[in-house]
Symmetry: C2
Subunit: 705 residues, 2 copies
């Protein structure tokens, strides 16, 4: 009888708990109390330069229509139809006007678009726009079509609903980008990234106002573009996974319509192993080459001593230059370790003849020759930091990652232009916040603020050692939206908490547009669990992040006695874990706020307590599954630790709540225990331990070291 | 203090409840009790003809390798590499052997493949195979490569894990298909279905051993294939959404490698509106045509009286015949309403000249002429039921939907062959079970069992009035796997419960292979909710199905005063609701089992009670969200009813449990209330009401009518 009563009560509580506990990943809209209406707050990322919302509301209904005055080009027409389709997807409103064409788009409509001229997809084109939203009319003005495209993306993010229906909040927006070059670099080489994935990511880029797609098309691990002139390059260098020239044309065309430039990169003289199975005569060392299958810097390198190398590159670059209309052309130039050059008698003789004192001078010679070829084909060279040379043509652009950051100021002062990728390596499993806080113009490197104008912008870089086509969206989004905001919005934006609110909103927005970051995570949990009820697994996974930076390589070797290869399955917990474990971030934020003033924050105390209770009991439920799925054993350590750490946290929380101080020894013992849990396992770290440390420190009043 | 105790208790229960309640959609693996190990049961769909598993186990580890003796063709090589990649995805085992090529695939391996000859992708090719799995060796034998492909799909589905790691269960499988023609028809016309979606669905088809992709390429609402000979067909008939000839070549090539034939369909003389914007001279009525935007049978029709029509079709069919290597060529022939023919003086004159007494004879004349053209280009005609004519060439195949089913036996007896789609219209929102229970050979139509050999097989048909590219996988899978089983497996398979076990397993399997049916549902819930914690919404959605058959059209008109169009957003609850609401099915099954013998089934009583408690309390939590999202108001009625019906169910359940009988009047009142809840709303029906009826009937002992 007691048992029945217990379970009856339990059920009601289970229901209330399930509904209101609110501990689901990515659920950043607070669950309402019973009876309280749900409120959606409009939000835009990147944050517009000026956005003043008011209490007017433009109702989105079936009669909604678009009018267009003055210039109407192909870009605007696509933008208008994409906007209507996406607005339909989001709101499910069945608009009377179905498909806009040049013939049926009139100058009247409830959304009125005024644009004076075509928007060219080129560096420096005007991208500014203004939006005025009132009860009856939305007025959208821009100089070029590119402003229209951006304005429609802003407007789409503003679409909101409440009990009275779908609407755009009234207000005024004036917006323009801070930097003209806002890029995402995709490496389709280390793992192949398909045309479909690239096309889908163009939609996401457009949604957050990025305007450069940098395609890194050749690497040690794959030659990923079709060459009709030298077909053995892609046929022997790609395992059959490459972008055809038709694919490239489709990508470039669609990107152009979205106002996104496509800059190709052919990395040389190093990072070129995959060129050599098809064309070994290009290599420094005479050998039979195969595609590289492991990561890191490889030795194979172009032979810079032979004229035939430059003749080949002349033809190849000519072919590629014709395929990519953008005037900039990236030749890489990074990470040549010079080992093969040092081994080659031919190179030694050449260096002697040319009076080069080291491989660096030979590298400069090679890059200079290639720059001339690029120029001959009507393009301007870009290269990674290593190509920087204060004697070079001022038009050449340096893409700064870590090398030569210290020389940057000197180069900018000399009149060179740069784009910044240092700080935006999204392959390194860092948090959105850590990227977002790093401005392209950092005092550490640039003392003279005048030089900011020499920085064209930046690029997030998605290197694909740990990313497959299937995982791609998950590693790029939503973090890249935060970087896009750093490139677009005012430098004065520094509040992390509101950044994360915008990031959470744009993450849901991208999900609605068909970007797959959230779907990949759910499917990954199901794949690993083998069952569909993945909630206890999700609870742990939501709190884990891959180890940061390049540590995964070494940890894998330590655990397995071998390196990662191109074929290693990326379907383990570390592959699905978020770089920016959002549930951990939310918990850590709550703990920080609570500990600031425990007595003032009773509600936060309850949140933390509930959360820790849930975590404390999670492992016992999850353990049988972890044991039955070999790949899930990699989180056993963390799952156990989560329960143990939560128990410690609960104990400490009691002291804090009561305002009592625990014994110093108690605190030290627990801190030591927590510290041992910070070890990585399965190449992951549990992201809530520092917050629990803080509760213990507060409870035992342990002095912070 | 009481409150604190209450909430403390609540939390523990919430945790236990969340972990063990097991009420998540598609979670058909029972959650274990604490401490109990998780067990995965190997399962294969379609069920092999003979499968005897034993206690041996073949451990899947890094050393796993494949050896190949005798014939090794391009199909097998792709199959081997797909198998290794998929096995890696599922198990995360990092196999030492990475990429198999003709050069490195030796005759030794722990999985040994023996195959005597190439498998041709043609009707009637041998598809049988045997598998012997022991502790140390897997032996796979087949006559043709197609058997190898099927065997590897079977083996992949068998991969299982437990505390000792990943393994294949030992045993013996002997398998071959019952029917040679096992198809899925895709209509990329009404809504455009992209190349990528078609390619992805080829993987799913291969996984369940379907071997015909029937592409319905032209319709009133879209001409979806590039014609180089008559480019105005696709340019003016598709809004730019069509499959290029390169796309078709890629699809046909990949399908061929998977052993899947591609049969193109060009539906005529009706269903041809989209041909006419580009070529109005083909139409019966002289007019300016535009693409049809609404559904149903449209009047525009080819002009069968002009020789120029046949000259055009000769050239067009010649072009298309060269693009599709399969010897069968589908010309549609269905649903010509004859209205334009009856209106045309030119047609009247032609009928008089030819002495045709009605439009039917004219249709027969047209179809005969087209068959001859098809034959001239080296192909054999297929058509829908309407083309059946006992005087036609015996090689011609009839695809039976509903028309002419009654003439089928006569046709088969006369030596004609048929394929069956009647019963397999997956666009009609029916359950997997209702399709699976309908054998291609039904006594209702075929009295003479000898005639079975004249039935080549069947096709599931995915018409796309209510399916977009984004929704596609969700409407096709997993139900089509059940139809695939009906086409492949022994006729004697009739147990619905075990069918659903296999279906649930194969649904999870397809999810792991990248098929998007589950992902689309999750993303759809998030899109509609606008927040990520969609659990209360999921609870209702898991129990709703779209109204069956063609009712959605009429209900939409009644609710909105207008028809569905091609542009109506398909992002409402009815679009994301499962045809086969799995949580409802599970509940209904549990109720049925419980009511069979209430006293014997105390555990089932608890399950039902817990479930009803959860549902009873769901609406109050969900209501604010439903009100704040206009598209979710369409489920308000059902959400309220779910809570009310659950309350009734709980009341009735008490009587049943106690073995007492409620008053007859009480029962009748409640049945009436429940009956009113069966009305559709938002074009959906709540799928648990009949089960609650049964509890009430049992409780009050109401006589069943």
């Amino acid at each position: 009888m007691m048992k029945n009563y217990f379970w009856g009560l339990a059920l009601v509580l289970v229901i209330l708990g399930a509904v209101y506990s609110g501990y689901r990943v990515h659920d950043f809209v607070r669950n309402p109390k019973i009876g309280e209406p749900v409120r959606f707050e409009p939000s835009v990322m990147p944050q517009p330069r000026l956005m003043e919302l008011n209490r007017e509301r433009f109702q989105i209904d079936r009669q909604f229509s678009i009018g267009y005055s003055s210039y109407l080009g192909e870009k605007s027409l696509l933008a208008v139809n994409r906007f209507m389709k996406n607005l339909g997807t989001i709101s499910a409103v069945d608009f009377a006007q179905q498909l806009y064409t040049k013939e049926n788009l009139s100058s009247e409509g409830s959304l009125l678009i005024m644009c004076t001229r075509e928007g060219e997809t080129r560096l420096g084109e005007s991208e500014s726009y203004t939006l005025n939203i009132s009860n009856d009319l939305i007025l959208l003005r821009a100089e070029s079509e590119l402003g229209i495209l951006h304005a429609l993306e802003t407007l789409l993010q503003l679409a909101t609903s409440d009990e009275r229906g779908w609407y755009f909040p009234g207000g005024k927006i004036e917006d323009e980008p801070r930097f003209a070059w806002r890029g995402l670099m995709i490496d389709p080489c280390r793992h192949f990234i398909s045309k479909e994935t690239i096309m889908r990511n163009l939609d996401a880029m457009a949604a957050v106002k990025l305007n450069v797609l940098h395609l890194h098309l050749t690497e040690d691990q794959g030659f990923r573009i079709e060459s009709k002139r030298f077909p053995n390059l892609h046929l022997k260098g790609s395992d059959g996974d490459y972008l055809s020239q038709d694919d490239i044309r489709d990508i470039v065309h669609y990107a152009d319509l979205l106002g996104i430039r496509v800059v190709p990169e052919f990395d040389m003289p190093g990072h070129t192993t995959a060129w050599f199975p098809g064309h070994p005569e290009l290599a420094t060392i005479d050998s039979v080459y195969t595609i590289a299958r492991t990561w890191g810097v490889h030795d194979p390198v172009f032979n810079p001593a032979r004229e035939s190398t430059y003749q080949f590159l002349d033809e190849f670059i000519g072919e590629m230059a014709a395929l990519f209309p953008d005037p900039y052309f990236h030749i890489g130039g990074d990470e040549n370790n010079g080992k093969h050059w040092s081994r080659s008698p031919e190179i030694a003789a050449f260096k002697k003849e040319k009076k080069f004192k080291d491989n660096h001078e030979l590298q400069v010679y090679f890059i200079d020759r290639v720059k001339e070829i690029v120029k001959k084909h009507g393009k301007t060279t870009i290269g990674w930091g290593e190509i920087l040379d204060l004697g070079m043509d001022k038009a050449i652009i340096t893409q700064f990652w870590w090398p030569r950051m210290k020389d940057m100021e000197k180069a900018l002062a000399a009149g060179y232009r740069g784009i910044i990728s240092n700080g935006y390596y999204i392959d390194l499993f860092e948090t959105a916040e850590s990227h977002w806080l790093r401005d392209p113009v950092r005092e550490e490197y640039i003392k003279n603020p005048e030089l900011e104008k020499q920085i064209l912008g930046g690029e997030a870089t998605m290197w694909t050692e740990f990313v497959t086509d299937e995982l791609f969206d998950k590693r790029v989004w939503p973090r890249t939206a935060a970087i896009a905001e750093r490139f677009w919005s005012e430098k004065s934006l520094w509040d992390i908490d509101t950044m994360y609110e915008r990031l959470d909103a744009v993450s849901r927005h991208l999900d609605r547009l068909g970007i797959r970051h959230l779907q990949i995570y759910d499917a990954g949990l199901r794949n690993m669990a083998g069952i569909t009820n993945v909630e206890p697994l999700r609870t742990v996974m939501d709190l884990l992040s891959p180890v940061r930076s390049y540590r995964r390589h070494q940890l894998y070797i330590e655990a397995n006695g071998r390196k990662y290869t191109q074929a290693t399955p990326l379907t383990r917990p570390v592959d699905y874990a978020w770089s920016d474990a959002p549930a951990a971030r939310k918990f850590n934020q709550t703990v920080r706020r609570y500990l600031d003033a425990p007595k003032m924050n009773a509600a936060l105390h309850s949140n933390i307590k509930e959360q820790l209770e849930l975590w404390k009991n999670n492992h016992i439920a999850l353990e049988p599954l972890l044991k039955a799925r070999p790949q899930l054993r990699e989180i056993l350590f963390h799952s156990e630790n989560l329960s143990k750490a939560s128990a410690i946290g609960l104990e400490a929380l009691k002291f804090v709540k009561k305002g009592k101080t625990a014994e110093r020894h108690w605190g030290e013992v627990h801190l030591k225990t927590l510290n041992a849990m910070k070890e990585p396992a399965g190449e992951m770290e549990l992201q809530i331990l520092a917050a629990i440390d803080q509760i213990v420190i507060k409870a035992a009043n342990v002095p912070v070291e």
